[in-house]
Symmetry: C2
């Protein structure tokens, strides 16, 4: 009975992992009990807060007796019905989640790496045990994209997801674009401001965005995909000159994570992408995330908010927690397309994906170069839309002393990744080209 | 038990009102049964489609025997558990909804006027009967703003809602701004393209946006507000010259519906508003809607999509219908802040609301006018931020033949509506001013 929720007694919960997000969640639970009780229909009592280091100072005052460094206390407590799992990484995080589920708890998690890597196993285990996992906080923090895909778009077949899913890289790109800083300088600033970690590898190489895309794809398309099933490229190899040429052509550069249906097959990739200026995705700056979502009934929709950080992520965790307390999350979990053994859609082979492309060559400044390049492109069915080659300064000592190289930028018409790769293989053998050939897709 | 849903048999539903949206809903239900069954956990069987005119041709092929012009057939059918209520207007729509609830049906509706006017009565009735009402489609069509407020922001106290909630007026304003058309010409185009009705009054005078704002305010702030409790101004009196001056000052004009907390009191209004160019709200064009939503935990978030039209609205209805079939909507309905007799927040008296203002005067082109106006403003604590007065052509026959009037535009610093109104009363007595004094707020 719906009304039974409001007459239920207090519900015991635990936070496993009191890092930044856990602290934020605890703060709202402890400082806004009236609000949480009203929204959940019953008091939520924080019974355990599990930490790895009991001595560390924390930015929240916890009731006596709830802090522990022993996760078994939570696992063994049959009265605790919901566990907020904020343990990072894979191995131990997986063990802990399995133990929490097996001990009869529903689990709220923010760990996207875990769900990307072990999601199918964990979801199946929860299903089999009659338990539920909620994971709004795992993707795009303050944007309710999981709820939107799971519930609000239920009448639709999603046709396209296109997202800025990593705030760190979006901050770095915004700095490079707006302040003409190099990648290295922008990264350093991001680290100083706390937007990037000391080891930023998983953010800047596109892994974090790709992990989130795997989760969204499973929800939206009912297709389980592994991280290495689709191409991903980060911003760590992006040169400031490419951002400048893109601007000259009327584009900005964003790290886009895309999953979309093309003739009933699934095309996915994560890549720095040229995005036309003055379109919504181009205007998402700083550490904000954004998702453009299209469905066959609703058409185009658009969501934006802070994708990470303590309180935006805490907001997502709290929404899941309240959904669990109300009983909605359990109903939702049963209806998600996480159990299919047969995928709804198969992957489009990468070579058949199509796009317009931005290509930058380092060419030897000699006669017939442009003709040679255009010839290769033409033979591979790649049609040229525009060209930028700026006049190079005449070499001071003449050309006799060695080769001089200049950049050549070509925007293509729509072609396949297979054609571009085949042309790339020919270019790799050109003695008059200096590596690397830069190759970025252009958003529709 | 959660899993009981997936093992349940078919669920009978009815559509009451087969206009544009009803036809769109029926089309998806009948053409995508496999999808709907999967998402709802059981087949949804369309058992009745109630129309007012049986002879009218419809853009959907219905199964034999379900079309009827007798709503009693639905009301008397105990097997039909969910009714999709797409009856417009107030009187009959209210009677029908009450009868549906009393006959034991949960109701999905898109009628915002009905919920604005009779929401408290209908919600209380449903609550008392143990029934539920879902109304995602009543506000901002394809944007899941009701679900976001009801569930995804549950950990937050919403602090501000700022929305473009009427697609018709946004289309008209976009035409005026981008093509420099007058209001009358832009309205005519909107009517030709089907974006505006033959009688566009409720859209263009701000009533429709205000009705939606009342619903969002009750959800977000737990405060019941009547349509006449807050100021509303439409775009029907907007002059193209104001759009031009706004552009000169770096702003565009949008019909904004705003509900926000100011020192723990609620400020609400619907008004054409100057919005800084190149901010997200300024870039929402055509018939799109958008909502900027801030919460005390999540910070600023942002949603956009088509606010009306057959399929975006059908998408919202289908989401509610599936939520009802799964059992989520019933749980959600019980937790909404629709039952409070004591409001969470009281209204800030309109005179105390504060904003920057755009003021346009028609002044007599004579010495000391600017000084006279500045004196009145200054005495009412209104500080001037910028002024535009363009040079008027020297009158051909000299100034002896009568008075000549020129526009004067003043942007103020932040001041209260009370101050502006008091100054306006003084200006109304000025012989050297020609009415009307145009007065538009400026978004933060």
């Amino acid at each position: 009975m719906p009304t039974s929720q409001s007459t239920s007694g207090p519900l015991s919960i635990a936070i496993v992992g009191m890092g930044t997000v856990g602290t934020g969640v605890a703060r709202v639970l402890l400082q806004q009990p009236e609000r949480i009780t009203r929204r959940a229909g019953r008091p939520l009592v924080l019974r355990h807060a599990v930490v790895s280091d009991l001595k560390k100072t924390r930015d929240v005052e916890l009731p006596a007796g709830i802090l522990t460094d022993d996760v078994q206390r939570v696992i063994n407590d049959r009265e605790t019905k919901i566990a907020i799992h904020l343990v990072g990484g894979l191995g131990a995080a997986r063990e802990i989640m399995l133990a929490l589920l097996e001990s009869g708890k529903d689990v709220v998690t923010a760990n996207k790496a875990l769900l990307c890597e072990h999601g199918p196993e964990l979801f199946a285990k929860a299903h089999q045990l009659g338990r539920s996992i909620a994971f709004e906080a795992a993707v795009a923090g303050g944007i309710p994209i999981i709820a939107t895909l799971s519930q609000s778009m239920a009448g639709n077949q999603i046709t396209s997801i296109s997202g800025i899913l990593n705030g760190t890289t979006n901050f770095i790109l915004s700095e490079m674009i707006q302040r003409q800083q190099t990648y290295a300088d922008a990264l350093r600033l991001a680290q100083e401001l706390g937007y990037a970690e000391a080891d930023p590898t998983l953010d800047v190489d596109g892994t974090d965005a790709a992990q989130k895309l795997v989760i969204l794809t499973q929800l939206a398309f009912g297709t389980k995909v592994a991280l290495n099933d689709f191409p991903r490229q980060g911003i760590d190899t992006l040169d400031l000159s490419d951002i400048r040429y893109a601007a000259e052509l009327g584009y900005t550069v964003k790290l886009l994570a895309i999953s979309k249906l093309v003739e009933n097959q699934l095309e996915m990739h994560v890549s720095p992408t040229l995005v036309k200026k003055q379109t919504p995705l181009a205007e998402v700056n700083g550490s904000f995330n954004a998702v453009a979502l299209s469905g066959d009934v609703v058409g185009d929709t658009w969501y934006s908010g802070r994708g990470a950080g303590q309180m935006p992520t805490a907001s997502a965790v709290l929404a899941d927690l309240i959904d669990m307390a109300v009983g909605r999350a359990q109903l939702t979990f049963q209806q998600l397309e996480l159990w299919r053994t047969e995928p709804n859609f198969r992957m489009l082979p990468t070579s058949q994906t199509s796009s317009r492309y931005y290509l930058r060559f380092n060419i030897e400044d000699r006669p017939h170069m442009l003709a040679d390049i255009a010839d290769v492109l033409g033979r591979h069915q790649i049609s040229i839309a525009s060209v930028i080659q700026h006049e190079a300064p005449e070499p001071a000592g003449g050309t006799a002393g060695g080769k001089s190289f200049v950049p050549l930028v070509i925007m293509t018409h729509r072609t396949t990744a297979g054609n571009v790769d085949a042309a790339g293989k020919e270019f790799a053998k050109f003695p008059s080209l200096r590596a690397p050939l830069v190759q970025l897709p252009v958003a529709n």
